[in-house]
Protein backbone atom coordinates (compact mmCIF):
# COMPACT_ATOMS: atom_id res chain seq x y z
CA UNK A 1 0.00 0.00 0.00
CA UNK A 2 1.26 3.45 -0.74
CA UNK A 3 0.34 6.63 0.99
CA UNK A 4 0.52 10.23 -0.09
CA UNK A 5 0.50 11.55 3.45
CA UNK A 6 4.09 12.67 4.10
CA UNK A 7 3.65 12.25 7.84
CA UNK A 8 2.93 8.54 7.69
CA UNK A 9 5.84 6.35 6.79
CA UNK A 10 7.39 3.14 7.99
CA UNK A 11 10.84 4.53 8.64
CA UNK A 12 13.08 7.56 8.58
CA UNK A 13 14.82 7.86 5.23
CA UNK A 14 18.01 9.11 6.88
CA UNK A 15 18.55 6.58 9.70
CA UNK A 16 15.91 3.96 8.81
CA UNK A 17 14.44 4.07 12.32
CA UNK A 18 10.74 3.42 12.57
CA UNK A 19 8.58 6.44 13.15
CA UNK A 20 5.07 6.98 14.35
CA UNK A 21 2.18 8.43 12.44
CA UNK A 22 1.84 12.14 12.96
CA UNK A 23 5.47 12.71 13.87
CA UNK A 24 7.10 15.58 12.00
CA UNK A 25 10.67 14.59 12.84
CA UNK A 26 12.39 11.26 13.38
CA UNK A 27 12.64 10.67 17.15
CA UNK A 28 15.97 8.88 16.68
CA UNK A 29 17.93 11.28 14.49
CA UNK A 30 15.77 14.41 14.20
CA UNK A 31 15.44 14.29 10.42
CA UNK A 32 12.30 16.04 9.19
CA UNK A 33 9.77 13.58 7.88
CA UNK A 34 7.99 15.97 5.57
CA UNK A 35 10.33 15.79 2.61
CA UNK A 36 12.24 13.32 0.49
CA UNK A 37 16.03 13.19 0.86
CA UNK A 38 17.87 15.45 -1.57
CA UNK A 39 20.23 13.59 -3.85
CA UNK A 40 22.74 15.18 -6.18
CA UNK A 41 23.28 13.81 -9.67
CA UNK A 42 26.55 12.22 -8.53
CA UNK A 43 24.88 10.30 -5.73
CA UNK A 44 25.50 12.48 -2.69
CA UNK A 45 22.56 13.08 -0.43
CA UNK A 46 22.25 16.18 1.72
CA UNK A 47 22.04 15.51 5.42
CA UNK A 48 18.62 16.39 6.79
CA UNK A 49 18.19 19.96 7.94
CA UNK A 50 17.20 19.46 11.56
CA UNK A 51 14.70 22.11 12.48
CA UNK A 52 14.86 24.41 15.46
CA UNK A 53 13.34 22.88 18.63
CA UNK A 54 13.59 19.32 17.29
CA UNK A 55 13.74 16.73 20.08
CA UNK A 56 15.57 13.41 19.87
CA UNK A 57 15.34 10.54 22.33
CA UNK A 58 18.29 8.46 23.40
CA UNK A 59 19.42 6.17 26.19
CA UNK A 60 16.98 5.05 28.81
CA UNK A 61 14.95 8.22 28.92
CA UNK A 62 17.18 11.09 27.96
CA UNK A 63 16.65 13.58 25.21
CA UNK A 64 18.35 16.30 23.29
CA UNK A 65 16.86 19.36 21.70
CA UNK A 66 18.36 21.19 18.76
CA UNK A 67 18.13 24.94 19.29
CA UNK A 68 18.99 27.57 16.71
CA UNK A 69 19.73 27.74 13.01
CA UNK A 70 23.05 29.50 12.44
CA UNK A 71 25.22 27.83 15.06
CA UNK A 72 22.77 25.29 16.42
CA UNK A 73 23.26 24.24 20.02
CA UNK A 74 22.31 20.93 21.58
CA UNK A 75 20.48 21.05 24.88
CA UNK A 76 20.80 17.74 26.71
CA UNK A 77 18.35 16.46 29.30
CA UNK A 78 20.04 13.50 30.96
CA UNK A 79 18.24 10.70 32.73
CA UNK A 80 19.85 9.40 35.96
CA UNK A 81 21.20 6.33 34.18
CA UNK A 82 22.48 8.17 31.11
CA UNK A 83 25.59 10.14 30.35
CA UNK A 84 27.04 12.18 27.55
CA UNK A 85 30.61 12.87 26.49
CA UNK A 86 31.95 15.95 24.74
CA UNK A 87 35.04 18.12 24.55
CA UNK A 88 35.32 20.87 27.14
CA UNK A 89 35.48 23.76 24.69
CA UNK A 90 32.00 22.89 23.40
CA UNK A 91 30.31 23.63 26.74
CA UNK A 92 27.78 26.44 26.70
CA UNK A 93 26.03 26.18 30.06
CA UNK A 94 25.10 23.57 32.61
CA UNK A 95 23.14 23.09 35.78
CA UNK A 96 25.02 23.47 39.04
CA UNK A 97 24.44 20.00 40.39
CA UNK A 98 25.58 18.20 37.24
CA UNK A 99 29.15 17.03 37.87
CA UNK A 100 31.73 16.74 35.15
CA UNK A 101 34.35 14.04 34.92
CA UNK A 102 37.33 13.86 32.62
CA UNK A 103 39.16 11.15 30.78
CA UNK A 104 42.47 11.77 29.18
CA UNK A 105 42.35 10.85 25.53
CA UNK A 106 45.99 10.93 24.56
CA UNK A 107 49.33 12.60 24.81
CA UNK A 108 50.37 16.13 24.04
CA UNK A 109 51.01 15.29 20.38
CA UNK A 110 47.27 15.20 19.85
CA UNK A 111 46.84 18.82 20.76
CA UNK A 112 50.15 19.83 19.25
CA UNK A 113 49.51 18.30 15.85
CA UNK A 114 45.76 18.01 15.84
CA UNK A 115 42.84 20.18 16.75
CA UNK A 116 41.43 17.92 19.42
CA UNK A 117 41.44 18.10 23.15
CA UNK A 118 43.50 15.73 25.24
CA UNK A 119 40.55 15.41 27.56
CA UNK A 120 37.07 14.06 27.01
CA UNK A 121 34.54 15.36 29.50
CA UNK A 122 31.46 13.47 30.48
CA UNK A 123 28.36 14.34 32.41
CA UNK A 124 26.06 11.82 34.06
CA UNK A 125 22.43 12.53 34.73
CA UNK A 126 20.17 13.67 36.10
CA UNK A 127 20.60 17.19 34.84
CA UNK A 128 20.80 19.52 31.89
CA UNK A 129 23.57 21.11 29.90
CA UNK A 130 24.15 22.52 26.44
CA UNK A 131 27.00 22.26 23.97
CA UNK A 132 27.63 24.07 20.72
CA UNK A 133 30.27 24.46 18.04
CA UNK A 134 31.98 27.72 17.23
CA UNK A 135 31.22 27.81 13.52
CA UNK A 136 28.16 28.32 11.39
CA UNK A 137 26.86 25.05 10.07
CA UNK A 138 24.44 22.25 10.71
CA UNK A 139 24.15 19.25 12.96
CA UNK A 140 24.48 15.69 11.75
CA UNK A 141 22.96 13.10 14.06
CA UNK A 142 24.14 9.53 13.51
CA UNK A 143 22.61 6.66 15.45
CA UNK A 144 25.29 4.01 16.02
CA UNK A 145 24.06 0.44 16.17
CA UNK A 146 25.81 -2.40 18.03
CA UNK A 147 28.79 -3.59 16.01
CA UNK A 148 28.98 -0.34 14.08
CA UNK A 149 31.91 2.10 14.24
CA UNK A 150 32.16 5.61 12.81
CA UNK A 151 35.35 7.60 12.24
CA UNK A 152 35.02 11.37 12.62
CA UNK A 153 37.31 14.06 11.24
CA UNK A 154 39.01 16.45 13.63
CA UNK A 155 36.96 19.25 15.09
CA UNK A 156 33.57 17.88 14.04
CA UNK A 157 32.59 15.86 17.10
CA UNK A 158 30.04 17.60 19.30
CA UNK A 159 28.58 14.99 21.65
CA UNK A 160 27.96 11.26 22.04
CA UNK A 161 26.18 9.24 24.66
CA UNK A 162 28.26 7.25 27.07
CA UNK A 163 27.48 3.78 25.83
CA UNK A 164 29.74 4.38 22.86
CA UNK A 165 33.37 3.34 22.97
CA UNK A 166 35.95 5.92 21.96
CA UNK A 167 39.45 5.76 20.53
CA UNK A 168 41.68 8.16 18.66
CA UNK A 169 43.12 6.94 15.40
CA UNK A 170 46.25 8.39 13.87
CA UNK A 171 45.83 8.92 10.18
CA UNK A 172 48.10 6.80 8.06
CA UNK A 173 50.70 8.79 6.15
CA UNK A 174 49.06 12.04 7.11
CA UNK A 175 52.00 13.94 8.58
CA UNK A 176 53.18 15.04 5.20
CA UNK A 177 49.77 16.12 4.06
CA UNK A 178 49.09 17.81 7.39
CA UNK A 179 51.95 20.13 6.73
CA UNK A 180 50.60 21.04 3.33
CA UNK A 181 46.89 21.26 3.84
CA UNK A 182 44.36 21.75 6.56
CA UNK A 183 43.70 18.05 6.82
CA UNK A 184 43.41 16.69 10.30
CA UNK A 185 46.06 14.51 11.83
CA UNK A 186 43.86 12.27 13.90
CA UNK A 187 40.39 10.81 13.65
CA UNK A 188 38.05 10.06 16.50
CA UNK A 189 36.40 6.64 16.40
CA UNK A 190 33.08 5.95 18.11
CA UNK A 191 31.78 2.41 18.27
CA UNK A 192 28.86 0.58 19.79
CA UNK A 193 29.26 -2.86 21.28
CA UNK A 194 26.19 -3.96 23.23
CA UNK A 195 23.96 -0.92 23.19
CA UNK A 196 22.94 1.45 20.43
CA UNK A 197 24.37 4.92 20.82
CA UNK A 198 23.95 8.39 19.44
CA UNK A 199 26.65 10.50 17.83
CA UNK A 200 26.16 14.22 17.16
CA UNK A 201 28.50 16.00 14.76
CA UNK A 202 28.72 19.61 13.66
CA UNK A 203 29.36 20.18 9.97
CA UNK A 204 30.71 23.54 8.92
CA UNK A 205 28.47 24.69 6.08
CA UNK A 206 26.36 21.90 4.67
CA UNK A 207 26.86 18.15 5.05
CA UNK A 208 26.50 15.48 2.41
CA UNK A 209 26.71 11.71 2.57
CA UNK A 210 27.45 9.09 -0.03
CA UNK A 211 27.22 5.34 0.34
CA UNK A 212 29.96 3.44 -1.45
CA UNK A 213 29.51 -0.08 -2.69
CA UNK A 214 32.12 -2.78 -2.07
CA UNK A 215 35.34 -1.66 -3.75
CA UNK A 216 33.86 1.61 -5.01
CA UNK A 217 36.39 4.44 -4.79
CA UNK A 218 36.19 8.18 -4.43
CA UNK A 219 38.64 11.04 -3.94
CA UNK A 220 37.69 13.41 -1.11
CA UNK A 221 39.35 16.66 -0.12
CA UNK A 222 40.89 15.97 3.31
CA UNK A 223 39.66 19.30 4.64
CA UNK A 224 36.09 18.44 3.69
CA UNK A 225 36.12 15.00 5.28
CA UNK A 226 33.48 14.76 8.00
CA UNK A 227 32.95 11.09 8.85
CA UNK A 228 33.01 7.59 7.46
CA UNK A 229 31.97 4.14 8.43
CA UNK A 230 34.85 2.12 9.84
CA UNK A 231 34.38 -0.29 6.94
CA UNK A 232 35.50 2.42 4.53
CA UNK A 233 39.27 2.33 4.09
CA UNK A 234 41.32 5.23 2.83
CA UNK A 235 44.77 6.35 1.77
CA UNK A 236 46.20 9.84 1.38
CA UNK A 237 47.46 10.58 -2.09
CA UNK A 238 49.46 13.38 -3.60
CA UNK A 239 47.91 14.32 -6.90
CA UNK A 240 50.06 14.69 -9.99
CA UNK A 241 49.00 18.24 -10.70
CA UNK A 242 50.86 21.53 -10.35
CA UNK A 243 49.30 23.83 -7.78
CA UNK A 244 52.02 26.40 -7.13
CA UNK A 245 55.05 28.14 -8.53
CA UNK A 246 58.08 26.25 -9.82
CA UNK A 247 55.96 23.21 -10.60
CA UNK A 248 55.03 22.70 -6.96
CA UNK A 249 52.54 19.90 -6.48
CA UNK A 250 50.62 20.32 -3.30
CA UNK A 251 47.20 18.81 -3.84
CA UNK A 252 46.47 15.95 -1.46
CA UNK A 253 43.30 13.92 -1.55
CA UNK A 254 41.85 11.05 0.43
CA UNK A 255 41.09 7.98 -1.63
CA UNK A 256 38.22 6.28 0.15
CA UNK A 257 37.20 2.74 -0.71
CA UNK A 258 33.83 1.20 0.11
CA UNK A 259 31.78 -0.41 1.41
CA UNK A 260 30.14 2.13 3.66
CA UNK A 261 29.15 5.74 4.12
CA UNK A 262 31.35 8.81 3.66
CA UNK A 263 30.29 12.24 4.91
CA UNK A 264 31.71 15.58 3.80
CA UNK A 265 31.15 19.20 4.84
CA UNK A 266 31.14 22.21 2.56
CA UNK A 267 32.54 24.85 4.88
CA UNK A 268 35.94 23.53 5.88
CA UNK A 269 37.80 22.97 2.65
CA UNK A 270 41.57 22.78 2.56
CA UNK A 271 43.43 25.76 1.17
Amino acid sequence: MTTTDPHIRAGCQWCQASTTAGATACPTCGAPLDGAPLHTVSGWRASPKIKDHTSIRFGTGSGLAVEGDIVPSVELVLDPSDGMMFHHHRLLWKEHHLPLTATRTGGSMITLMGEMSRVMLSASGPGRLAVSHGQAGELVVLPVRPGQAIDVGEGSFLAANHVLGYTIEKLQGSLRSKLRSTEGFYMERFYATEWPGLLVLHAQGCAFERTLAQGEQLLVDPGAFLYKDHSVSFTTEKMDVTTGVMGWKGLFMMRVVGPGRVGIESGSMAD
Binding site: E67, D69, V71, E75, H88, T101, S117, V119, G134, A136
Partner: protein, 312 residues
Protein backbone atom coordinates in the same frame (compact mmCIF):
# COMPACT_ATOMS: atom_id res chain seq x y z
CA UNK B 1 -11.52 46.00 12.48
CA UNK B 2 -8.32 44.73 14.01
CA UNK B 3 -7.55 44.12 17.63
CA UNK B 4 -4.48 45.33 19.45
CA UNK B 5 -2.05 42.67 20.57
CA UNK B 6 0.72 42.64 23.14
CA UNK B 7 4.18 41.52 22.11
CA UNK B 8 5.30 38.48 24.10
CA UNK B 9 8.92 39.62 24.19
CA UNK B 10 8.91 43.31 24.95
CA UNK B 11 5.34 43.94 26.09
CA UNK B 12 4.59 46.60 23.49
CA UNK B 13 0.96 46.86 22.46
CA UNK B 14 0.45 47.28 18.74
CA UNK B 15 -2.11 46.80 16.00
CA UNK B 16 -1.21 43.74 13.90
CA UNK B 17 -3.59 44.95 11.22
CA UNK B 18 -1.45 47.99 10.63
CA UNK B 19 1.90 46.26 11.10
CA UNK B 20 2.44 42.48 11.27
CA UNK B 21 5.47 42.74 13.54
CA UNK B 22 6.10 44.48 16.84
CA UNK B 23 7.31 47.99 16.03
CA UNK B 24 9.70 47.94 18.98
CA UNK B 25 11.42 44.55 18.86
CA UNK B 26 10.39 43.04 15.52
CA UNK B 27 8.66 39.90 16.83
CA UNK B 28 5.82 38.72 14.64
CA UNK B 29 2.31 39.21 15.99
CA UNK B 30 1.19 36.02 17.64
CA UNK B 31 4.69 34.55 17.72
CA UNK B 32 4.83 32.44 20.84
CA UNK B 33 7.66 32.82 23.30
CA UNK B 34 8.97 29.26 23.51
CA UNK B 35 11.42 28.19 26.15
CA UNK B 36 13.66 25.15 26.11
CA UNK B 37 13.70 22.44 28.78
CA UNK B 38 16.52 24.35 30.40
CA UNK B 39 14.48 27.54 30.61
CA UNK B 40 16.12 29.45 27.77
CA UNK B 41 14.17 31.46 25.26
CA UNK B 42 15.35 32.28 21.79
CA UNK B 43 15.27 35.85 20.58
CA UNK B 44 12.33 36.42 18.24
CA UNK B 45 12.87 35.29 14.69
CA UNK B 46 12.95 38.45 12.60
CA UNK B 47 11.26 38.08 9.24
CA UNK B 48 12.72 39.62 6.11
CA UNK B 49 11.92 43.29 5.88
CA UNK B 50 10.96 43.63 9.52
CA UNK B 51 10.35 47.30 10.27
CA UNK B 52 11.01 48.89 13.66
CA UNK B 53 9.83 52.29 14.74
CA UNK B 54 12.29 54.45 16.67
CA UNK B 55 10.37 57.64 17.33
CA UNK B 56 10.22 59.40 14.00
CA UNK B 57 12.96 57.18 12.56
CA UNK B 58 12.72 53.67 11.24
CA UNK B 59 14.95 50.63 11.03
CA UNK B 60 14.53 47.77 8.60
CA UNK B 61 16.21 44.37 8.95
CA UNK B 62 17.16 42.28 5.93
CA UNK B 63 18.79 38.88 5.85
CA UNK B 64 18.91 36.11 8.41
CA UNK B 65 22.40 34.62 8.61
CA UNK B 66 24.29 37.85 7.85
CA UNK B 67 21.65 40.44 8.70
CA UNK B 68 21.84 44.04 7.57
CA UNK B 69 20.26 46.93 9.46
CA UNK B 70 18.92 49.72 7.23
CA UNK B 71 18.19 52.88 9.21
CA UNK B 72 16.16 55.83 8.00
CA UNK B 73 16.91 58.66 10.38
CA UNK B 74 14.56 61.60 10.71
CA UNK B 75 15.81 65.15 11.02
CA UNK B 76 17.91 65.43 14.16
CA UNK B 77 17.66 61.72 15.14
CA UNK B 78 20.91 59.94 15.85
CA UNK B 79 22.39 56.47 15.62
CA UNK B 80 25.81 55.48 16.92
CA UNK B 81 27.97 52.57 15.77
CA UNK B 82 31.53 51.43 15.25
CA UNK B 83 33.05 52.37 11.92
CA UNK B 84 33.74 48.72 11.07
CA UNK B 85 30.00 48.06 10.99
CA UNK B 86 29.19 50.71 8.40
CA UNK B 87 28.11 49.44 4.97
CA UNK B 88 26.93 52.60 3.27
CA UNK B 89 25.33 55.96 4.07
CA UNK B 90 23.59 58.91 2.49
CA UNK B 91 25.72 62.00 1.95
CA UNK B 92 22.96 63.94 3.67
CA UNK B 93 23.81 62.36 7.04
CA UNK B 94 26.03 64.36 9.35
CA UNK B 95 28.81 62.32 10.92
CA UNK B 96 30.61 63.01 14.17
CA UNK B 97 32.63 60.79 16.41
CA UNK B 98 32.98 60.57 20.14
CA UNK B 99 35.79 58.98 22.06
CA UNK B 100 34.61 55.65 23.42
CA UNK B 101 37.81 54.10 24.70
CA UNK B 102 41.32 55.03 25.60
CA UNK B 103 43.98 54.20 23.08
CA UNK B 104 45.22 51.36 25.25
CA UNK B 105 41.72 49.94 25.67
CA UNK B 106 41.22 50.04 21.92
CA UNK B 107 44.51 48.22 21.42
CA UNK B 108 43.84 45.61 24.09
CA UNK B 109 40.23 44.94 23.21
CA UNK B 110 37.82 45.00 20.31
CA UNK B 111 36.35 48.30 21.48
CA UNK B 112 36.53 50.95 18.74
CA UNK B 113 38.56 53.95 19.80
CA UNK B 114 35.85 56.29 18.66
CA UNK B 115 32.15 55.71 18.17
CA UNK B 116 30.61 57.29 15.09
CA UNK B 117 27.40 59.25 15.60
CA UNK B 118 25.25 59.86 12.53
CA UNK B 119 22.56 62.52 12.58
CA UNK B 120 19.58 62.53 10.23
CA UNK B 121 18.01 63.13 7.88
CA UNK B 122 19.28 60.27 5.75
CA UNK B 123 19.76 56.55 5.46
CA UNK B 124 22.58 54.21 6.32
CA UNK B 125 23.26 50.47 6.33
CA UNK B 126 25.04 48.56 9.08
CA UNK B 127 26.21 44.96 9.37
CA UNK B 128 28.43 42.95 11.68
CA UNK B 129 30.22 41.23 8.81
CA UNK B 130 29.79 37.73 10.20
CA UNK B 131 27.15 35.05 10.49
CA UNK B 132 25.03 35.72 13.52
CA UNK B 133 21.53 36.39 14.69
CA UNK B 134 20.49 40.01 15.05
CA UNK B 135 18.78 40.79 18.32
CA UNK B 136 16.75 43.91 18.98
CA UNK B 137 17.10 45.07 22.56
CA UNK B 138 14.45 47.63 23.57
CA UNK B 139 15.42 49.59 26.65
CA UNK B 140 12.99 51.44 28.86
CA UNK B 141 14.04 54.64 30.64
CA UNK B 142 16.31 53.79 33.54
CA UNK B 143 17.23 50.31 32.32
CA UNK B 144 20.86 49.41 31.88
CA UNK B 145 22.51 46.49 30.10
CA UNK B 146 26.14 45.52 29.67
CA UNK B 147 27.11 44.18 26.25
CA UNK B 148 30.19 42.60 24.80
CA UNK B 149 31.71 45.18 22.43
CA UNK B 150 31.79 42.89 19.37
CA UNK B 151 28.12 42.12 19.93
CA UNK B 152 26.99 45.73 19.74
CA UNK B 153 26.00 46.71 16.23
CA UNK B 154 24.34 50.07 16.85
CA UNK B 155 22.59 52.14 19.49
CA UNK B 156 19.77 54.56 18.87
CA UNK B 157 19.34 58.03 20.20
CA UNK B 158 18.86 58.31 23.93
CA UNK B 159 21.28 55.60 24.91
CA UNK B 160 24.24 56.55 27.03
CA UNK B 161 27.34 54.55 26.17
CA UNK B 162 30.29 53.91 28.44
CA UNK B 163 32.96 51.35 29.08
CA UNK B 164 33.17 49.25 32.22
CA UNK B 165 35.73 46.62 33.20
CA UNK B 166 34.87 43.00 32.56
CA UNK B 167 33.08 41.60 35.62
CA UNK B 168 35.30 38.58 36.24
CA UNK B 169 39.02 38.00 35.97
CA UNK B 170 41.72 35.60 37.08
CA UNK B 171 45.48 35.63 37.24
CA UNK B 172 47.71 33.46 35.15
CA UNK B 173 51.18 33.17 36.50
CA UNK B 174 54.37 31.64 35.24
CA UNK B 175 58.04 32.02 36.09
CA UNK B 176 58.43 35.30 34.28
CA UNK B 177 55.15 37.13 34.40
CA UNK B 178 51.69 37.39 35.86
CA UNK B 179 48.87 38.18 33.51
CA UNK B 180 45.35 39.14 34.46
CA UNK B 181 42.82 37.48 32.18
CA UNK B 182 39.27 38.66 31.60
CA UNK B 183 37.27 35.72 30.23
CA UNK B 184 34.17 37.87 29.63
CA UNK B 185 36.21 40.59 27.98
CA UNK B 186 38.56 43.28 29.28
CA UNK B 187 35.87 45.90 28.78
CA UNK B 188 32.13 45.79 28.29
CA UNK B 189 29.87 48.49 26.93
CA UNK B 190 27.38 49.92 29.39
CA UNK B 191 24.15 50.96 27.66
CA UNK B 192 21.81 53.15 29.66
CA UNK B 193 18.45 54.47 28.53
CA UNK B 194 18.11 57.73 30.39
CA UNK B 195 14.86 59.56 29.85
CA UNK B 196 13.30 58.11 26.71
CA UNK B 197 12.73 54.55 25.49
CA UNK B 198 15.52 53.50 23.21
CA UNK B 199 16.84 50.49 21.38
CA UNK B 200 20.17 48.75 20.84
CA UNK B 201 20.97 46.27 18.12
CA UNK B 202 23.20 43.32 18.95
CA UNK B 203 24.56 40.61 16.69
CA UNK B 204 25.46 37.27 18.19
CA UNK B 205 28.02 34.84 16.97
CA UNK B 206 25.59 32.17 15.93
CA UNK B 207 22.24 32.14 17.65
CA UNK B 208 21.20 34.17 20.65
CA UNK B 209 19.44 32.64 23.64
CA UNK B 210 18.17 34.46 26.70
CA UNK B 211 17.61 33.27 30.25
CA UNK B 212 15.59 35.21 32.80
CA UNK B 213 16.94 34.70 36.30
CA UNK B 214 14.92 35.20 39.44
CA UNK B 215 16.48 36.97 42.41
CA UNK B 216 19.64 35.12 43.50
CA UNK B 217 19.02 32.33 41.00
CA UNK B 218 22.42 31.02 39.88
CA UNK B 219 23.50 30.06 36.38
CA UNK B 220 26.75 28.63 35.04
CA UNK B 221 27.63 29.78 31.54
CA UNK B 222 30.67 29.79 29.32
CA UNK B 223 32.05 33.31 29.89
CA UNK B 224 33.30 33.54 26.34
CA UNK B 225 29.75 33.16 25.02
CA UNK B 226 27.99 35.88 27.05
CA UNK B 227 26.62 38.55 24.70
CA UNK B 228 24.79 40.91 27.08
CA UNK B 229 23.10 40.98 30.47
CA UNK B 230 21.06 43.28 32.67
CA UNK B 231 23.05 45.39 35.08
CA UNK B 232 21.14 43.80 37.96
CA UNK B 233 22.86 40.48 37.26
CA UNK B 234 25.87 39.80 39.51
CA UNK B 235 28.83 37.73 38.39
CA UNK B 236 31.65 35.76 39.84
CA UNK B 237 34.22 33.38 38.44
CA UNK B 238 33.51 29.80 39.39
CA UNK B 239 36.20 27.19 39.00
CA UNK B 240 34.80 23.69 38.80
CA UNK B 241 37.30 20.98 39.56
CA UNK B 242 36.86 18.09 37.19
CA UNK B 243 37.88 14.68 38.40
CA UNK B 244 39.50 12.21 36.11
CA UNK B 245 38.27 8.68 35.88
CA UNK B 246 39.75 5.32 35.21
CA UNK B 247 36.60 3.34 35.64
CA UNK B 248 33.93 2.79 33.08
CA UNK B 249 30.47 4.12 33.01
CA UNK B 250 27.99 1.54 34.29
CA UNK B 251 27.05 0.47 30.78
CA UNK B 252 30.50 0.31 29.25
CA UNK B 253 31.44 3.59 27.67
CA UNK B 254 34.88 4.65 28.65
CA UNK B 255 35.52 1.18 30.01
CA UNK B 256 36.24 0.15 26.48
CA UNK B 257 38.72 2.97 26.25
CA UNK B 258 41.68 1.52 28.05
CA UNK B 259 44.02 4.14 29.36
CA UNK B 260 46.20 1.84 31.44
CA UNK B 261 49.07 3.64 33.08
CA UNK B 262 48.23 6.86 31.25
CA UNK B 263 45.06 7.34 33.23
CA UNK B 264 44.77 10.75 34.70
CA UNK B 265 43.07 11.14 38.03
CA UNK B 266 44.17 14.55 39.16
CA UNK B 267 41.83 17.50 39.09
CA UNK B 268 41.49 19.79 36.15
CA UNK B 269 39.41 22.92 36.09
CA UNK B 270 36.70 24.52 34.03
CA UNK B 271 36.22 28.22 34.59
CA UNK B 272 32.58 29.18 34.47
CA UNK B 273 30.99 32.57 34.74
CA UNK B 274 28.42 32.24 37.49
CA UNK B 275 25.53 34.64 37.20
CA UNK B 276 23.05 35.50 39.95
CA UNK B 277 19.70 37.09 39.21
CA UNK B 278 17.56 39.01 39.00
CA UNK B 279 17.82 39.87 35.35
CA UNK B 280 18.43 38.55 31.87
CA UNK B 281 21.53 36.89 30.49
CA UNK B 282 21.97 36.52 26.73
CA UNK B 283 24.35 33.88 25.46
CA UNK B 284 25.63 33.37 21.94
CA UNK B 285 25.94 29.79 20.70
CA UNK B 286 29.45 30.50 19.45
CA UNK B 287 32.06 32.10 21.68
CA UNK B 288 33.10 35.72 21.21
CA UNK B 289 36.67 35.11 22.25
CA UNK B 290 39.13 32.36 22.88
CA UNK B 291 37.81 29.87 25.33
CA UNK B 292 38.18 30.24 29.06
CA UNK B 293 40.80 28.35 31.04
CA UNK B 294 39.63 24.81 30.99
CA UNK B 295 40.79 21.33 31.63
CA UNK B 296 43.06 21.43 28.63
CA UNK B 297 44.80 24.59 29.72
CA UNK B 298 44.89 23.46 33.28
CA UNK B 299 46.57 20.33 32.10
CA UNK B 300 49.27 22.35 30.44
CA UNK B 301 49.52 24.49 33.50
CA UNK B 302 49.84 21.53 35.82
CA UNK B 303 52.16 19.58 33.63
CA UNK B 304 54.64 22.38 33.27
CA UNK B 305 54.19 23.48 36.86
CA UNK B 306 54.35 27.05 35.71
CA UNK B 307 50.96 28.52 36.43
CA UNK B 308 48.08 28.50 38.77
CA UNK B 309 44.59 29.83 38.60
CA UNK B 310 43.26 32.32 41.08
CA UNK B 311 40.42 34.73 40.74
CA UNK B 312 38.99 37.90 42.16
Amino acid sequence: MSLATTCGWCGTTFDPGAQPTCPRCGAAAGQAVESTHGGWIETPTLAENTILQMGRSQARIEGAQNPVLFCTLAEGDQMSFGHRNLLWLDPTLRLDSVKSASGMAAILTEVPWRQIVSTGPGELGLAAGRAGELGVLPLDPGSVVHARPPALLAAAVGLGLGLIPGPISYWEQDDDSTIQRFPMGRYLVRLEASTVPSVAFVVARGDLNIRRLAADEPLLVNPAAVAWYDESVRWRACVELVRGRKAAFPMGGFGSFSLGSRSWTGPGAVLWAEAFGPGRVAVSTAAFSASMPTVRQRFQIDKRVTSEISWD
